[in-house]
Amino acid sequence: MPIAIDFLQNVSLFQDLDTAGLSTLAALLVSKKAPAGAVIFRESDESDALYVLQAGAVVISKHIQGPVDVVLTTFRDGDFFGEMGLFDAAPRSATAQAKVDSILWRLERNAFLHIISDHPEIAAKVCYRLVSVFIERLRSTNDQAREAIRWGLEATGYSPAASRALFGRKST
C-alpha cells in the first residue's frame, strides 16, 4: 500500500519538504498495521526505526513497578514517535502500544542514513523539525520530572514551609 503524499504533507516532521522530497521519503516508508492492544515496541527493545501514525491511537508508557506503567503521552493521527531510533541503537526508553486499531508507517534507521548520504537537503529539513520536537518533548519531560520530585520531596517532608514545627512553652 503506497502512502499518500497528501498525508505526509500534514505530518509536522515533513512539513518543510516539497513534493519531490516527500516522494523520495515515501518510497522508504514501510506500512505496518497494529490491532488494538498490539505492542509496537517495548521498553528496552533495540531502537531501529521511527513510526508515523496515519490513523488510530498509540499509547507511550514507561514501566513503574509490577503491572503498572505511567502513561507519558498518547499519539494520534499525523503524530510520529520512536524518533530516537533514527540516531541511536540504545534500548527503547518507553513502550508503544496501539490503543485502537492503527495504521503506521515505519522509517528504519538504515533508510534514514541513506537519506542523509544521498539527499542531505531532505535530511537537514527533517533533522531541523526533529530537533524542534526534541526540544518540546524535553521541556515536557523537565516539567514532569520537576513535579515528580516536588511530590517526592513533599511526601518525605522536605519542605521549608513549616515554621512552627517546634513545641515550646514561654511562661509570661
Binding site: 520531596l153 517546634l166 515550646g168
Partner: protein, 408 residues
C-alpha cells in the same frame, strides 16, 4: 545493589542572590525513603497525661540542643517506625493497619517537625535542614513576613539562662518553694485584702488624687507592673529549676505577636509531671499577689494623700494583673491558659480552637456531628469572646471615668 541516583537541590538565601546546592539520594524524595531517628542517647520522650478529649500526646526532646516536638499518638507511632529499616511505603502500610487510614500529609508534617528539631539522622537531614534554615527569598518577600521579622528584632533573649537560674535557685531561690513561704503569702494576702476592703470606701477620693497627678500616678504604676513582670518571669524560671528542669531562655518578646512581655522558656517542664507544670504556672502570678499585697498594706499604713492613693492604685493594678494572668479565657497563652491546657491535657487547645474558626459555620449547621474535642474548643472560643468583650466594656467605663476626672 545499585546505588540510588543523586538529586541536587538548590536553595536560595533570603536576602541576596546567593544560593547553595546540596545533594540527596533520590530515595529521599520517594516512598523508598527510610527515615532514621537519632540514636536513643540523644533524645528523651515523655508521655503526657491523657487529654479530656481522649487524646494522647508525647513530648520529644532533642538532648543535644534543647529543641522539643509535641507528638500526637499517630506521630508517636511513626516515630517508633523511624528506625532506618522501614521505608515510607512500609510505614504507611503499618500505619493503615494500626489506625485504619493513612494520609501522606501526616508523615510530611511530622518529618518536617523532626528536621526542624534535629531529630533525624544527620546524613538524612543535612541537606534539607540547610534549606529549612534559609527559607527561600520569595517566602520572605511579602510584607507580612517583613513585618514579622521587624517585630522579632524587638525581642531579645538571654544566653545561658539556665546557669543564671540555677545560681539564683542555689543562692536562696529554693527557699521560695518552702511550704512556709506559701502560707506566709496566703496570710499576707488575706491581711492585705482586709486592708483593701477598708480602704475601698475611699476609692473615689484616691481616684481624684491620682487624676490630679496623672503622669506621676501612671508612671509609678507602670514601673511597678514592669518590675513585677520581671520577677514574675524569674519566679517561673526558678520554679522550673525547683523541679530539676532546664530553663531554655529568658527574654522579651511579643506574646502571640501583639503583647510585649517578658518570658521564661520552661518547655523542659513537660519532661516532668503535670503537677510540676501547674506549680510553675502558678508561681508567676504569686509575685503580683505579693507585690500587690505589700502595696495595699503600705497604703493602709500611710497617711492620707497622693502617696496612699498611688499605693492603693498600684495594689489594685498588681492584683488585677495577677487575675488577668490567671484567667484562662483571653485568647492569649497566659498562665491561666497554661493551667487550663495542663488540666485538660490539651497542650494545643488555643491553636486548635483558632484553627476551628473557619469551619464553625459548617459545624453549627450540623450540631449532632460535633465531636467532644470540638465542643471543648468551641466552648473555649466562646468564653474568650465573652470575656474579652466584658473586659473591654468594664475598662472603657473605668477609662471614661478617669478621663472625666482629669478634665475637671
Amino acid at each position: 545493589m545499585q546505588e540510588p541516583a543523586k538529586l541536587q537541590l538548590l536553595t536560595r538565601s533570603s536576602e541576596d542572590s546567593a544560593f547553595e546546592i546540596f545533594e540527596i539520594d533520590s530515595t529521599q524524595a520517594s516512598s523508598r525513603f527510610k527515615p532514621k531517628r537519632r540514636p536513643a542517647a540523644e533524645w528523651d520522650l515523655k508521655r503526657q497525661p491523657r487529654g479530656i478529649d481522649g487524646s494522647l500526646h508525647f513530648v520529644l526532646k532533642n538532648l543535644r540542643d534543647d529543641r522539643y516536638v509535641l507528638l500526637s499518638a499517630q506521630e508517636f507511632f511513626l516515630w517508633e517506625q523511624f528506625d532506618g529499616r522501614n521505608s515510607l511505603e512500609e510505614i504507611a502500610r503499618a500505619f493503615h493497619l494500626a489506625f485504619g487510614a493513612f494520609d501522606y500529609s501526616l508523615i510530611h508534617g511530622f518529618l518536617n517537625k523532626l528536621y526542624h528539631a534535629g531529630l533525624l539522622d544527620d546524613h538524612q537531614a543535612r541537606g534539607p535542614q540547610n534549606a529549612l534554615i534559609s527559607p527561600p527569598a520569595r517566602t520572605r518577600a511579602d510584607l507580612r513576613h517583613r513585618l514579622v521579622d521587624t517585630w522579632r528584632r524587638l525581642a531579645f533573649r538571654t544566653s545561658d539562662a539556665d546557669r543564671f537560674c540555677s545560681m539564683v535557685y542555689r543562692c536562696g531561690g529554693f527557699l521560695l518553694f518552702h511550704p512556709f513561704i506559701f502560707w506566709l503569702i496566703v496570710a499576707v494576702a488575706l491581711v492585705a485584702f482586709a486592708a483593701a476592703f477598708r480602704l475601698a470606701a475611699h476609692s473615689h477620693q484616691f481616684g481624684r488624687l491620682m487624676s490630679a497627678q496623672p503622669l506621676l500616678s501612671t508612671g509609678i504604676i507602670l514601673i511597678s507592673l514592669l518590675i513585677a513582670s520581671v520577677f514574675h518571669v524569674l519566679i517561673h524560671a526558678i520554679a522550673c529549676k525547683a523541679y530539676g528542669r532546664r530553663v531554655r531562655e529568658l527574654g522579651f518578646f511579643l506574646l502571640q505577636g501583639i503583647l510585649p512581655t517578658f518570658y521564661a522558656d520552661v518547655t523542659d517542664i513537660f519532661m516532668a509531671s503535670r503537677r510540676a507544670r501547674l506549680m510553675v504556672d502558678l508561681a508567676g502570678p504569686l509575685v503580683e499577689v505579693v507585690f500587690g499585697s505589700i502595696a495595699m498594706l503600705g497604703a493602709y499604713l500611710s497617711d492620707p494623700g497622693i502617696g496612699q492613693a498611688i499605693l492603693f492604685g498600684t495594689g489594685v493594678f498588681l492584683w488585677e494583673s495577677a487575675l488577668i494572668n490567671l484567667y484562662p479565657f483571653s485568647f492569649l497563652e497566659l498562665d491561666g491558659y497554661n493551667i487550663l491546657a495542663d488540666l485538660l491535657a490539651m497542650p494545643m487547645l488555643r491553636k486548635q480552637a483558632l484553627a476551628l474558626v473557619p469551619n464553625l459555620g459548617q459545624l453549627m449547621r450540623n450540631p449532632s456531628a460535633i465531636q467532644r474535642v470540638e465542643l471543648i474548643q468551641i466552648a473555649y472560643l466562646a468564653l474568650c469572646l465573652v470575656s474579652v468583650f466584658i473586659y473591654l466594656v468594664l475598662h472603657l467605663d473605668a477609662l471614661s471615668t478617669l478621663l472625666s476626672f482629669s478634665w475637671r
